[in-house]
């Protein structure tokens, strides 16, 4: 079986870095491009971070495209861990890959239309606000036809929000883009917060990454430690979620996820702007448009994730030797 053509649309972001590294470590996936969108941090910083993570992953040849710098309509908000900003040499000691001249939205449009023409539609992991995807899907009907599936990290159905009481960050940051994308007629897999809260990377896991991995795994552990992602009261145990990495994990190991079909939509107006609602029971009249992850098989998932990250070799041109 040939590798799945994949684009990662991302706003790195520590957990985004985990997703890119996992994709890099997975021969089942053919990473065509990384498209960056303002989200966790401003656009300049997400582009620089994505460039560093690509270099760290040994993917310097994968094209990086800069996308939208602000949401479609609402005032811009940044992520909870935005204080981390742009990763410095101290955190990710590699020379960043520079973005291409061509923008992210154009790259997405061309890749999708190319997918139609080649009869091989692309899969997209959407790890940030959905601005780039909304701007691409509105341009040409062939864009939706050329996307096999969008795997979205977003929504907060029973866990409710992390950035607002009613919304996760990605939906809150650009609710209009999200509403537009979920109605675009592209098959969706959704990883809402209550799913990503089921896979917590613990201190023992981080130590394993540091002990068994080369630079990529060690840097991922370092990034993970750089901002406190744990919330023992909320999660009932120690550890921090790896959110975005689960989108790539779902593509690799769907057997570790239980999903349910739903009709999902996003509120663009009113007090709960950015709330993603999911109709699992056919209460409304909207057709099913998403497969929503409900249960994650945590331990095998984290073990496989860690094993993949630890298998990534040191990239060429690292600024820091791997001290043991």
């Amino acid at each position: 079986m040939s590798a799945l053509p994949l684009i990662i649309d991302t706003d790195p972001g520590v957990d985004d870095a985990g997703a890119i590294l996992l994709a890099a470590a997975s021969p089942e996936l053919d990473l065509l491009a990384v498209t960056a969108v303002a989200g966790n941090v401003p656009l300049d910083a997400v582009v620089a971070n994505a460039g560093r993570v690509l270099a760290l992953a040994g993917l310097a040849a994968v094209p990086l495209h800069a996308g939208a710098g602000q949401p479609l309509v609402r005032r811009q908000v940044f992520g909870r861990h935005s204080a981390l900003g742009a990763f410095g040499d101290d955190l990710v000691p590699v020379r960043p890959v520079a973005p291409r001249r061509r923008g992210a939205v154009e790259a997405l449009v061309d890749a999708a239309i190319g997918g139609v023409e080649r009869g091989r539609p692309v899969t997209i992991c959407a790890l940030g606000p959905l601005t780039n995807l909304a701007l691409a899907l509105v341009q040409d009907a062939r864009v939706a036809a050329g996307i096999a599936r969008i795997v979205v990290m977003g929504g907060a159905l029973s866990a409710l929000g992390n950035r607002a009481p009613w919304a996760d960050f990605n939906m809150l940051a650009d609710p209009h883009a999200a509403a537009s994308v979920v109605r675009a007629g592209v098959p969706l897999t959704l990883l809402p917060l209550e799913a990503t809260f089921q896979a917590l990377l613990t201190e023992a896991d981080l130590q394993r990454l540091e002990r068994e991995g080369a630079l990529p795994a060690r840097v991922f552990a370092r990034l993970f430690r750089a901002s406190d992602r744990g919330d023992p009261v909320r999660f009932g145990r120690p550890g921090g979620p790896v959110h975005d990495a689960l989108t790539v994990a779902w593509l690799l190991w769907p057997e570790l996820f239980r999903t349910r079909d739903a009709a999902i939509g996003v509120a663009t107006a009113g007090e709960v702007q950015g709330h993603l609602h999911a109709d699992f029971h056919g209460v409304g009249d909207r057709p099913v448009n998403a497969s929503v992850v409900r249960v994650v098989d945590e331990r095998p998932l984290l073990d496989r994730l860690i094993a993949r990250l630890c298998a990534l070799p040191d990239p060429a041109g690292a600024l820091e030797a791997v001290a043991s």
Binding site: G69, L72, V73, V105, V138, Q139, D140, A141, A179
Partner: protein, 323 residues
């Protein structure tokens, strides 16, 4: 006759549509304008039809050189709505020959980004004339905000400022069809001339004016006459007479004869949440919001001057096509 001054560089963004078609014909016949390209958007009818109609109107006027770029196939967020007064094809009862050329290979948004970036670099900004929902320009602005430096001004048909809406009691069609795109454009800080229903309802296509256009003769006079007859709303109680409000050609007329228009400056916001008022354009006449008054809202039109100009230019265009 060569124009006395450097022609004004423009891009027309449209969704023909009967009034768009007439606006294009007016622009083609105006040597003061240097048409750098036409971008087309889904609006009055679907994108396939608006593109086809644009190409047909170009062919009718002998405009084989101007690039026609197909644009966005739906609004940014909301579901599409269609125009009510241009018929199922978008060009009334016209039966024009099929287009003889395809649209340009480049998408309208990519073209706008490229052309406006180049215009900014050359220090020769372009006037963007919009006649449909603002999706193409809004998408371009979000993809690359720096293109604003390549825009001299946006001259827009859209909105209802001191008068009721047309598609709903509160909203004019172009804004209602993509209110989020309109928000992006109005909040961009770009200098805008907004020609809304306040203006176009003063420019009714009365039977006398239609007769004057038909008297131009030839294919152009006949075609525009047919379009205008189809355009008659048949609602003299509402419009204070027979005819229809001729929206989009006012955009081109404003470039040619600004003295025929009176404007008033305001910041304009677009209602995005109201159950009854979605797409309403809300002008801030008194500076109450603190937003910069970057929009010149057209409040009055010299309708006779406008129709006189249209007839004069169509006659010149007819001579050009024949020659």
């Amino acid at each position: 006759m060569a124009p006395a001054v450097q022609p004004r560089r423009i891009i027309i963004d449209c969704d023909p549509g009967i009034d768009d078609a007439i606006a294009l014909l007016l622009a083609f016949a105006s040597p003061e304008l240097e048409l750098r390209g036409i971008t087309v958007v889904s609006g009055n009818v679907s994108i396939d039809l608006t593109v086809r109609n644009t190409l047909q109107i170009c062919a009718l006027a002998g405009e084989s050189g101007v690039a026609v770029h197909a644009g966005c196939h739906r609004p940014l967020v909301r579901e599409p709505i269609r125009g009510l007064f241009s018929g199922p094809t978008g060009l009334g009862k016209l039966d024009l020959t099929a287009p003889t050329r395809p649209p340009a290979g480049r998408h309208a948004v990519a073209f706008l980004v490229e052309a406006l970036t180049a215009a900014a670099e050359e220090g020769a900004p372009i006037t963007v004339c919009t006649m449909g929902p603002l999706t193409n320009l809004a998408v371009a602005l979000r993809i690359n905000p720096k293109i604003a430096a390549g825009i001299e001004r946006v001259v827009m048909m859209g909105g209802a400022y001191q008068v009721p809406g047309n598609r709903t009691p509160a909203a004019e069609f172009n804004i209602l069809a993509d209110p989020h795109a309109a928000h992006i454009v109005f909040s961009s800080g770009l200098p805008i001339t907004a020609i809304g229903l306040d203006a176009s309802h003063q420019a009714l296509s009365t039977p006398e004016r239609v007769a004057m256009i038909e008297a131009v003769g030839g294919a152009l006079g006949r075609t525009v006459g047919d379009l205008l007859r189809f355009w008659d709303r048949g609602d003299p109680a509402r419009f204070a007479g027979p005819g229809g409000p001729l929206h989009d050609p006012l955009v081109i007329a404003h470039l040619l004869r600004p003295q025929a228009f009176a404007t008033r400056a305001a910041a304009v916001a677009v209602e995005l949440e109201g159950a009854l008022t979605l797409g309403q354009t809300v002008p801030d006449w008194y500076g109450q919001t603190g937003a910069a008054a970057s929009v010149d809202v057209v409040t009055e039109v010299d309708a006779d001057a406008f129709y006189g100009l249209l007839a004069e230019r169509l006659a010149a265009g007819r001579r050009r096509v024949v020659a």
